[in-house]
């Protein structure tokens, strides 16, 4: 019995709002006109945060050599943080010709002996998938031999996009881990966090609030996650998807198999964070919990407002243009509005219809939804006399030409923007950008430009 998932099924995933409106599958990249990562990267994103498991990449050096230690996902795991380590079989010509399974088996033995992980995830990659190395069998034999879970992950890069890879990662967890262990105890307010990767500690911006409310995170896929916990995930009362549509297929399957309802939300910005907390409480359905949640929200919002006050003074009358993709097109906009900035335009080029609706809702009637931001943003800055452009690095030149402040929204952040307190980090970065003279100085004319 192969554990290989049905890719096609995942691609036409019914719960995916994104796809329901589109004809072509997400994973048809255009040769010579493609950016964005592959399925393997997507699987990395969704599974690597398990810091107590070794993630062994069965493939050649490109897959891991260039990507390990790139993730700022944090963990409270006290053992060695395997997320920040890189393990790869580094297959050679020889392995390509004669199969890499033996090397894989050796690597597993080596890892178990030296690192004693709680589990091992084994990732197939393009070449090892192509040559037909049977990672299912190696994993099954290893699990028997070593008595810990071995999870084969079938997300070689060439099967599709990052998004698909994340689903395949979820699928592997669903097939091999969830439901394989019973929790020590259960509570009426047990939830799973799905798709929260705790990047820059995002999850910790709100997890203490859940604690305070008596809501227990039974398991997480996979931010600050533990293998032992995700094995018990089938006993949760609610699945909470955080900003990650790719894992809807997982929660749907869990709903079918274990009758766990799910909700999708975001903890980005003040309003979203409050809405998110409220949604969880409502979904759990306890009137007292709902009441306490409302009180907590009121308290947190009031405290945040006080802390934001000095920033509001600085940001009064300041206008921002936003050029980024996906759900960031409205979620960052909302957060900026929470800080008191006016968002005069946002990009919806790659957004889904749902994202566009939300963007319109947040920006209001006068907000400009840019379909071709590369061409539109400069004019929009002129027209609105905007003070700040938030976009990817390539748009920096536009900001410099206009002499306005710039924030690279793709730049790797070291501080979280999530939850209530994260908004203060965003505020600080916006303030730093607005006050930084570098943009106008860099744009000044050379003494020899006549």
């Amino acid at each position: 019995m192969s554990s290989k998932p049905n890719v096609k099924e995942l691609l036409i995933e019914s719960s995916c709002e994104h796809n329901s409106k589109k004809r072509t599958p997400c994973n048809a990249p255009t040769p010579g006109a493609t950016s964005g990562g592959c399925a393997f990267e997507g699987a990395q994103i969704s599974l690597f945060p398990y810091a107590d498991a070794v993630h062994l990449v069965h493939g050649s050096m490109t897959c891991l050599g260039s990507s390990w230690e790139t993730r700022t996902t944090k963990t409270s795991w006290q053992g060695r943080d395997f997320t920040q380590m890189g393990f790869a079989t580094d297959i050679s010509v020889n392995d390509v010709i004669f199969s890499g399974e033996k090397k894989l088996t050796g690597a597993i033995a080596y890892i178990v002996e030296l690192y004693a992980p709680e589990a091992v995830f084994v990732y197939s990659t393009c070449v090892t998938a192509l040559i037909g190395d049977d990672i299912d069998q190696v994993c099954a034999q290893s699990a028997e031999k070593y008595g810990i879970p071995f999870v084969p992950v079938h997300a070689p890069g060439f099967v599709g996009s990052k998004n698909l890879g994340s689903r395949l990662g979820g699928e592997a967890v669903f097939r091999h881990l969830i439901g394989t262990k019973e929790p020590d105890k259960v509570t009426p307010f047990d939830i799973n966090l799905i798709g929260e990767y705790n990047v820059t500690g995002d999850m910790w911006q709100y997890s203490h609030l859940l604690d305070e409310l008596g809501i227990r995170v039974l398991s997480s896929l996979s931010g600050d996650g533990r293998v032992a916990a995700i094995r018990t995930a089938h006993r949760a009362k609610l699945n909470v998807i955080v900003c990650a549509k790719s894992l809807v297929s997982l929660t749907r399957k869990m709903e079918e198999k274990y009758q766990i309802p799910w909700i999708s939300l975001s903890f980005y910005g003040k309003r979203d964070t409050s809405d998110g907390l409220r949604s969880i409480a409502t979904a759990l359905g306890d009137p007292d919990l709902i009441e306490r949640t409302n009180q907590l929200i009121a308290r947190e919002e009031e405290q945040l407002e006080q802390q934001l006050q000095p920033y509001r003074v600085l940001f009064a009358g300041k206008k921002a243009v936003l050029n980024t993709g996906g759900n960031k097109s409205w979620s960052i906009a909302a957060a900026l509005q929470d800080l008191g900035l006016e968002v005069v335009g946002t990009s919806v080029r790659k957004a889904t219809e749902d994202d566009r609706t939300k963007a319109r809702k947040y920006l209001g009637e006068n907000g400009v939804l840019m379909m071709n931001p590369g061409a539109e943003q400069a004019k929009l800055i002129d027209d609105t006399e905007a003070h700040l452009l938030l976009a990817g690095g390539r748009s920096l030149y536009t900001a410099i030409k206009k002499g306005i402040a710039f924030i690279d929204v793709n730049q790797e952040k070291k501080k979280s923007y999530g939850g209530y307190q994260g908004l203060l980090n965003l505020a600080e970065d916006v303030k730093n950008a607005l006050e930084n003279p570098v943009f106008s100085l860099v744009g000044r004319k050379t003494p020899w430009s006549h």
Binding site: P31, G32, G37, C38, I91, A107
Partner: protein
């Protein structure tokens, strides 16, 4: 004295240093002006590579992929995806050159990119760079060789004033520039292939180009074969020099394993004096030699007390170790990403082909690390000092402008190592 150990017995890489051939090929193509590197493989390979290089150089990186999928992998011998890619690229920009190179995926399938290339009627250089063979250094070197082979016109004319410099992959842009300028100071016109000095040197361009900007031009590559002299730096580049000589047998070839430190730079000067019949090098060269001498003396006391771990690509490693050795630094462990004949020459107590797990297991044998960003966690865990060098360096800005070569760079490199070593000793003492 030196024992070379290879990690052949280990069935995996843990915390790898090794990088792939396609990454080296990408970098090489980025040293050609107006080039679009086109990686023939799954879309992820290009994506990882692009992010990786963007973070190291803090620059936008031009790069495209043929985006081979599991479906096309089976149906297509490369013809469709490559031809389609070029069509799509040319919809947006018109590159001076397409740099076509493979990852392991099409190599495993057996795609005939040479055959595909012959069907394409725009400037294109192809090279096979499977990622289950070689590494960063060989990917760069193979590409350089392919550029010459496929672009440079044969001739029997010689311009004695013209020098072709072939730098190895680990030479950062400013280092390429410094070596060019050094040779140029002897009166030569110097062309570097590839030339990152003018493309990835971290300059603000007029606008964000979708193609590589700066670097050697295709026309210049075509005309390389009338150079009187080709200078290769690093073992990996010798084959490229030989290929150039095949284009014109009158070209003389000077090879330098590296250009780090006093002795190596002396030997470059000596050769250039012989070539030019000058009695003295330019004054600035003399001055920097005196400064390097002084730097060696100023740093020797700190260096002599310090045991180093040095990790990197072979051609880089041999130079770094030599520089340290000259000022008394004790390289107790040198770890190369891949094997190379050069490793036998390294002045270190132990030389091995390995990864950072090997380095970690030997952590009691060194005080200071010279190596890439990944060494930071190692340094932190084991309380070692760190001088960040090599690919990648994602934590720091300005990597492309760090020069360790020749008299000048050598002096600064020694100062940095000696100062980090002293500060590290102080810190250990204080804690």
């Amino acid at each position: 004295m030196v024992t070379l150990k290879t990690a052949a017995s280990k069935p995996l890489q843990v915390n790898p240093l090794k990088l792939s051939q396609p990454m080296g090929a990408t970098l090489a193509f980025l040293g050609v002006d107006g080039c679009m590197p086109l990686m023939h493989g799954g879309q992820g390979c290009a994506s990882f590579t692009k992010v990786y290089l963007t973070r190291h150089f803090s620059e936008p990186i031009a790069l495209q992929t043929t985006a081979v999928t599991d479906v096309t992998a089976i149906l297509d011998g490369g013809d469709y995806s490559i031809v389609e890619s070029i069509k799509n690229i040319r919809k947006k920009v018109l590159p001076e050159l397409i740099g076509l190179y493979t990852t392991g995926l099409p190599e495993t399938k057996g795609d005939d990119i040479c055959g595909v290339a012959s069907q394409i009627d725009c400037p294109l250089v192809y090279v096979n760079t499977a990622d289950y063979e070689g590494g960063l250094e060989s990917g760069w070197a193979l590409t350089c060789k392919a550029l010459i082979q496929q672009l440079t016109a044969e001739t029997d004319q010689i311009d004695d004033n013209k020098v072709v410099l072939l730098p190895h992959v680990s030479m950062q842009p400013i280092e390429v520039e410094k070596v060019k300028d050094f040779i140029a100071a002897f009166g030569f016109q110097v062309l570097a292939l590839p030339d990152l000095a003018t493309s990835l040197d971290g300059h603000l361009g007029e606008k964000q180009a979708a193609l590589s900007h700066g670097g050697i031009t295709v026309e210049e590559i075509a005309g390389l074969a009338d150079a009187g002299l080709v200078i290769s730096v690093g073992h990996s580049m010798q084959a490229s020099a030989e290929v150039l000589q095949q284009k014109n047998s009158f070209i003389r070839h000077l090879h330098f394993p590296h250009l780090s430190g006093l002795v190596a730079t002396d030997s470059l000067v000596e050769q250039l004096l012989t070539e030019t019949r000058f009695r003295h090098p330019p004054a600035v060269v003399e001055r920097w030699r005196k400064r390097l001498q002084d730097a060696m003396l100023d740093s020797h006391f700190s260096m002599g007390q310090t045991r180093f771990l040095v990790v990197g690509e072979p051609d880089h490693l041999v130079g770094l170790c030599e520089s340290l050795y000259e000022a008394g630094g004790r390289v107790s462990v040198a770890i190369a990403t891949v094997n190379s004949p050069q490793l036998e020459e390294i002045k270190a107590e132990q030389v091995l082909v390995g990864d950072l797990e090997d380095a970690e297991q030997m952590a009691d044998q060194y005080d200071l690390i010279v190596g890439n960003f990944h060494c930071e966690a190692l340094a932190h865990r084991h309380h070692k000092g760190l001088v960040t060098r090599g690919f990648p360096n994602w934590e720091q800005v300005g990597n492309q402008l760090k020069n360790d070569l020749l008299y000048e760079g050598g002096a600064y490199f020694l100062f940095e190592c000696a100062n980090v070593a002293s500060a590290h000793r102080e810190q250990l003492e204080a804690s």
